[in-house]
Symmetry: C2
Subunit: 395 residues, 2 copies
């Protein structure tokens, strides 16, 4: 086992990425996966469907990095040139693979005659192994030559992700000597980034051990403190516990503890098996978030929600054990707004706040107000539990 972390690069191919017509979500997915597996992602590029540009970029990336993951440009049309670009970079030539031709014909039997142009998808260089695409017509390639691996994946996100999971990640873990990244996250709500950094003090300023990186990320569902290490995971576990105790009730969970689920669990704990919502000024952000929480024992069921444009509409929410109300005021010129949150429900958990500050603009402001309402429910449960537990005198 060596200490070196292998370098990877990501290339996304498609002229639509260079005209702003499409946001490249594939690169972020692949970057996350490669980092987690144990690669250092040294760079990401988006490039046009241009054979010469691609050939140069592939050759440069292979010279620098042990792995190059490419998505896009594997379609059947004349402007899908990823195959040609890699062939040029490697000095190999393309030839029809009879097995791929047969596979394409079989696939098209269900849809009618195969356009002749699709035969381009049966082209292969000698050093490429085929990666199956069970849900699309573009096969992928795995090219392991001269101490460097290039993987070509389709650009359609669902096909790319499926091929990654089924075929690429397993090959990578057996081909490379990888130390996976340990990632742990502490999730908070109600603190700004700078306030949070101040509360954590030297913990953030000077990481306590080499090999641990700390990131603070502002998200719609609060500020996340993220620790990463390729070394011993227990170091990071201890840091997580220290952050929890420094931040107290502003922490709502760790790792995969989602705020909506935490709030719905607090409601169930307080005796409400179901909850419905009434929201004004949020374009339905609260209902959208709650509707997305999977049903589960010990978690209140979302019975439905009422989305209103203003407070004048008179209508009743779907019947439920508890009703959560959220009114988001329009944003001021300085970009701040406030939300009013109330909960009619179990006596131990009723709440009325008339001033939660919401920052941000656009859809972000709306989603943040919904998370702020859910955080109010969580806090009410924390306070209610604290008031019920007897204060103990120190022994």
């Amino acid at each position: 086992v060596t200490d070196a972390v292998p370098r990877a690069e990501i290339v996304s191919v498609g002229s639509e990425l260079l005209t702003g017509a499409t946001v490249d979500t594939n690169a972020a997915f692949l970057a996350g996966e490669l980092t987690r597996l144990g690669f250092e992602v040294a760079g990401v590029r988006q490039l046009a469907d241009d054979r010469r540009v691609l050939a140069t970029a592939f050759a440069e990336a292979r010279a620098r990095s042990a792995l190059v993951v490419v998505s896009g440009g594997l379609g059947p049309t004349h402007d899908d040139l990823t195959r040609e670009g890699l062939a040029d970079a490697l000095g190999e030539s393309l030839a029809e693979d009879p097995a791929l031709v047969e596979r394409l014909r079989k696939r098209f039997r269900a849809y009618g005659p195969m356009p002749a142009t699709n035969l381009r998808q049966a082209l292969r260089i000698a050093s490429a192994q085929v990666l199956e695409n069970p849900i699309g017509s573009a096969p992928g390639w795995w090219v392991d030559r001269d101490d460097s691996v290039v993987a070509l994946l389709p650009g359609v996100p669902s096909e790319m992700r499926r091929m990654w999971t089924d075929a690429v990640s397993v090959r990578l873990t057996s081909r490379f000597d990888l130390r996976p990244l340990h990632v742990r996250t502490v999730r908070t709500f109600g603190l700004g980034e700078s306030m949070l950094a101040e509360r954590l003090g030297e913990l953030v300023a000077t990481p306590p051990r080499r090999g641990v990186t700390i990131g603070i990320y502002a998200r719609d569902d609060g500020v996340h403190v993220r620790f990463e290490t390729r070394a011993d995971g227990s170091v990071v576990d201890a840091l997580v516990e220290r952050v929890r105790s420094l931040l107290g009730d502003d922490v709502y969970g760790t790792d995969h503890d989602e705020l909506p689920r935490v709030a719905l669990a607090a409601l169930a704990q307080a005796g409400a098996a179901s909850v419905s919502t009434v929201e004004v000024g949020t374009d339905g952000a609260l209902a959208a978030i709650l509707a997305g929480v999977p049903a589960e024992d010990g978690v209140a069921r979302f019975a439905g929600g009422l989305v209103l444009a203003d407070t004048s509409a008179v209508s009743a929410p779907p019947p439920a054990d508890a009703v959560l109300r959220l009114v988001l005021q329009p944003a001021s010129d300085s970009g701040r707004s406030r939300a009013e949150v109330s909960l009619d429900g179990p006596p131990s958990l009723s709440l009325t706040t008339d001033r939660v500050r919401i920052h941000g603009s656009g859809p972000q402001r709306l989603r943040r107000s919904a998370f702020a309402a859910l955080d109010q429910v969580r806090r009410a449960a924390v306070e209610s539990a604290a008031s019920r537990s007897p204060h103990r005198a120190p022994l």
Copy 2:
């Protein structure tokens, strides 16, 4: 005026872009803006906060392209290294700019003492002009040297966009000889990409004039046919009319005609001044979309919506002149699902469909079902208008 289209490159700086923690939306915004202004975007890169890597990348990009637009890495902390990277690439040194120091101190007066580390944001190279940042602490740079321009912008999307609009785009149009791109879009609903391409036939296969590019993009609100040219815009206008007549009622608009607004206008036309919604299985996608349509004369007002988890809940939607109901069935194993749409409202526009096919998965499936419901409303209006207009015999 020369015929050459100046090349631009985009660099997004930030290690969080290489670990998958953040999706790079800045690059897509800048790519769209640069293309529209009249640049050819030759490449986009995401790079880590690494001084040497950045210096190399900036030098390479300047050698290839007339313009390099960089976002990110202008913050106050030690890992914000974009300034240093560009100074190295240009062989210049950084010095504190007294005017920038004063500006920072003034800005911080409102918040309390300025951390010393923020002084890094007052550093400047001699050839950099300062770009004002009215809503953040990171000033931008405009560096015009040796026939190549580099613009440094903050990474926070709202600050980047504001600086782009206020300071960068105007400088670019006066500095470069640009021919803006003419873009026109035909928006359709109800046709798949390949069916649409078949209906358009040779119009798509062989563009009728040089200098016009045609793209077909599947979006949640239907399939868009996009024409672009840097030459005479009237060529593209004629193409748009030809596509409209080839596709008939599957076209719901052009350019900025949004489907929700088209449907709400159809409702107003039929006599419904307001509409409310009841939706099941969609996580509130329909209410979210309708709530986002700005109020306007001639367009039905969205009075509110009821979001339900299943059809068993009994509750009334907010009162309105028309009620649009959408029930989305769970997706089958093959990834298809169907939606039922009905409208109680003006007699001329009532509708019941029990089978609209919805493709896709995840949030996309939900949004597509909402757009499918709105398309049903639009189609009902088209059919109602057709049945009212007397059939004329040819002269």
